[in-house]
Amino acid sequence: MSVPLSHVLIVASLMFAMGLGCVIAWRANVIMMLIGIEIMLNAVMLTFVGGSAHWGIADGQLFSLMLMALTSAEVSLALAMVVYLHRRKQTVNTDDFNSMKG
């Protein structure tokens, strides 16, 4: 296949930017914010895999795998937290959660 690495990276960066936008824009909804994070993480994975393929080293793929494991851990915890918070406050609006105020 003869796609230049830069194109892969551009796709990844667009994807990352959209994830970022999602996280920022949907501040009222934790679920959507989590989705944004997933998108960003996938963008990172795409970068890793692209790099791995480009240089022919397995490490990039390996890290995508690690990322996936990480993400699943993160998502399961985050969703558990959402459930917990929803149970306590009946909302998923992040602006209502401010107990971390400094």
Binding site: M1, S2, V3, P4, L5, S6, H7, V8, L9, I10, V11, S13, M15, A17, M18, G19, L20, C22, V23, I24, A25, R27, A28, I31, M32, L34, E38, I39, N42, M45, L46, V49, S52, A53, H54, G56, I57, A58, Q61, L62, S64, L65, M68, A69, L70, T71, S72, A73, E74, V75, S76, L77, L79, A80, M81, V82, V83, Y84, H86, V92
Partner: protein, 161 residues
């Protein structure tokens, strides 16, 4: 041929994500996302990572997204009126920052002259496995520990008082 396929898939991916993040309902956005991730999985395959592609489908599109769906349904968040939809004021900073990030990345990419000719090598699963379990054995252990902690944490948070 493969390159064309790649671009098509990329288009599907990006459009799917765009739809996902602008969807009115969380359930819809999940469905769009699943579509995009399928496309992404294919792109991984094209980039010579069949194993990752498989995992993408199984774990992401399969497990994680379903988990999202479960939670959405459990909390009965599917009706759009329950959620405050972002208006333009919310989107503005997001667009600005995302634009800045993309712009900067593109500038960076464009400024780097491609030293190596374009082209990808496929990495066989055997090599992948060797690297995973020989070189990064400790990392695998750490990740597994982490998954365990996440499990315990989720159980702790989810228990009924």
């Amino acid at each position: 041929m493969e390159a064309t396929l790649f671009y098509i898939l990329a288009a599907v991916l990006l459009i799917g994500i765009l739809l996902a993040i602008t969807a009115r309902q969380a359930v819809r956005s999940i469905v769009y996302l699943v579509t995009s991730f399928f496309a992404l999985a294919l792109m991984f395959y094209l980039l010579g990572a069949p194993l990752i592609a498989a995992f993408e489908v199984i774990i992401y599109a399969g497990a994680i997204m379903v988990l999202f769906l479960f939670v959405i349904m459990m909390l009965e968040l599917e009706s759009p009126e329950k959620l405050a939809k972002p208006n333009f004021k919310n989107w503005l900073p997001a667009l600005l920052l995302a634009g800045a990030v993309v712009g900067a990345l593109v500038v960076l990419l464009a400024s780097r002259v491609q030293a190596v000719p374009p082209g990808f090598t496929e990495i066989p699963v055997r090599q992948f496995a060797f690297a995973l379990f020989k070189q990064y054995g400790v990392a695998v252990e750490v990740v597994s520990m982490q998954l365990l902690f996440a499990l315990v944490g989720a159980l702790y948070l989810g228990r009924r008082r």
